[in-house]
């Protein structure tokens, strides 16, 4: 009986290894501050979902984790984010290497306008992960298999990736991210442009990928967060209001703001 209570499972899951540890992360876009000292530990081989109203900083925080914010000129990041034992904002850290370790899947499926094969082969090629052609083929096939897409596209690897359906495109993007063998996969609202069936397939995939990868997902759908994630962090106005096991966040949130948000009372 005791083990069934949510609080105890929370304690149990805290024993997992920490993959990414963010401390006092602040982000400024020019004069505007987007994050106000966010602390978050992301556990290994778990799906962590970041929820919150629009403009709460969850996507900004996600983009800090692989330094995608670097591409925005006016963006400056403070605090510390540790991936394993490196601080990813250390000047010595190479962004390209970091992004090979921390892959990303975006809101809109964005396959390259090239063949399905090329889409996946691109990452391993630029990182020099494959020695020869057969090596490359192996990586492409296994990535597609892991993304659950291989059976659907095996006869048309030469066709353009943009010709696939939205859900297939998104899984292609996931396969592309997997191809460079990252440790962490960041997903920025990966299903917001997909229909429910495609969404379900992607969610199923996320659940399978958890075994080998650490996944951080930003989502606007609380049902989705509840379905796919083990831990949930609720962002509001650039802060984390509450973070904990998903079942607790969605059944007994401790903070009134979390409660109001997930039950649809915000504003």
């Amino acid at each position: 009986m005791q083990d069934m209570t949510p609080i105890n499972t929370a304690e149990a899951s805290e024993r997992r290894a920490i993959k990414i540890s963010a401390k006092e992360v602040t982000v400024h876009y020019g004069a505007k501050q987007a994050l106000f000292g966010v602390d978050l530990d992301i556990e290994e081989n778990q799906v962590t979902s970041l929820i919150g109203p629009s403009g709460c900083g969850k996507s900004t925080f996600l983009r800090c984790l692989n330094r995608m914010n670097d591409t925005i000129d006016i963006c400056s990041v403070g605090g510390q984010i540790r991936l394993g034992d490196i601080n990813i904002y250390d000047p010595k850290v190479d962004v390209v290497e970091l992004r090979a370790r921390v892959g990303m899947v975006f809101q809109k499926p964005n396959p390259f306008p090239k063949s399905i094969f090329e889409n996946i082969a691109y990452g391993p090629r630029i990182h020099g992960l494959c020695r020869d052609k057969s090596d490359m083929e192996e990586v492409v096939v296994s990535s597609l298999q892991k993304a659950g897409l291989f059976d659907e596209v095996k006869d048309r690897l030469d066709e353009p990736g943009t010709g696939l359906s939205g859900g297939q495109q998104q899984r292609l993007c996931i396969a592309r991210a997997i191809a460079v063998s990252p440790e962490v996969i960041l997903m920025d609202e990966p299903c917001s442009a997909l229909d429910p069936i495609a969404t379900a397939k992607v969610e199923e995939l996320i659940d399978e990928l958890r075994e080998n990868y650490t996944i951080v997902i930003v989502t606007h759908s609380m049902q989705q967060a509840a379905r796919v994630s083990q831990r949930t962090a609720f962002f509001h106005l650039g802060n984390i209001v509450e973070e904990g096991p998903t079942e607790q966040i969605f059944t007994m949130p401790k903070d009134q703001r979390t409660q109001d948000y997930i039950t649809g009372r915000f504003g």
């Binding site: 007994m252 039950t263 009372r265 915000f266």
Partner: protein, 232 residues
């Protein structure tokens, strides 16, 4: 708690809570009526009471449908979800309470023309009062979302149980004294048992209210408090 952004969602939840309150009121009156009929051996009232149970059954049906629909439509989370689940559970308890009340009325009809000792009926009446108080308190606690009152009801169930035990011994004595009392006393014993069950359902409702309020089952807390009580 502030309102939902979608006002019709609030309306759904309010309607559900309103139906529970109505059902509670009806169940309470049904039990009252059945006890009154028993005490006064009012056969007309007893048969009326039996009839009334169908209204409560249909209310139970309505609540279940409404709850299922609301879950399907709103995908409730956290407190809202507990609200709906609680309504479902309480309606089941109330339906059972009404059934037990109807049962008492039926037994009243079976007792028609039989002579009965006043004291025994008084004992039943006393127990009914206690059970009904429990029911009333717990329904008020539901309306007020008052988990403290609910805990009170939960603890007080022991008194109902104790009263039932003493009544049981009393009936046994009577039956041993005069075998002619057996049939009559057995009926009354079943009525007492029904009242005790009503008390149990009130306790269930109290547990549900506690869960609704806190998201935790009441048992855990009970153990802690029991220990404290023992220390006292």
């Amino acid at each position: 708690m502030s309102d939902h952004i979608v006002t019709s969602y609030d309306d759904d939840l309010k309607e559900l809570a309103g139906k529970i309150s109505e059902m509670g009121g009806r169940a309470e009156r049904l039990v009252e009526d059945s006890i009154a009929a028993l005490v006064r051996m009012d056969m007309v009232k007893a048969s009326e009471t039996v009839e009334k149970d169908t209204i409560i059954n249909s209310l139970d049906q309505e609540i279940e449908e409404k709850a299922v629909l609301t879950i399907a439509r709103r995908q409730p989370m956290a407190h809202d979800l507990r609200e709906i689940i609680s309504a479902l559970r309480i309606s089941v308890d109330l339906e059972r309470i009404a059934d037990l009340g109807k049962n008492i009325a039926r037994r009243t009809l079976a007792l028609e023309g039989k002579k009965q000792p006043k004291q025994l009926v008084h004992g039943i009446e006393h127990m009914a009062e206690l059970a009904l108080t429990q029911l009333r308190t717990v329904l008020d606690a539901y309306t007020g979302r008052d988990d403290v009152a609910a805990i009170g009801v939960w603890h007080k169930d022991r008194e109902v149980d104790a009263l039932y035990n003493s009544l049981f011994r009393e009936f046994l004595t009577y039956m041993m004294e005069d075998p002619r009392n057996i049939s009559f006393c057995t009926h009354l014993l079943f009525c007492a048992k029904n009242l005790e069950r009503i008390g149990d359902h009130a306790t269930n409702i109290a547990e549900t209210i506690y869960y609704l309020k806190t998201g935790l089952p009441l048992e855990d807390r009970h153990f802690e408090e029991n220990e404290q009580l023992d220390l006292d």
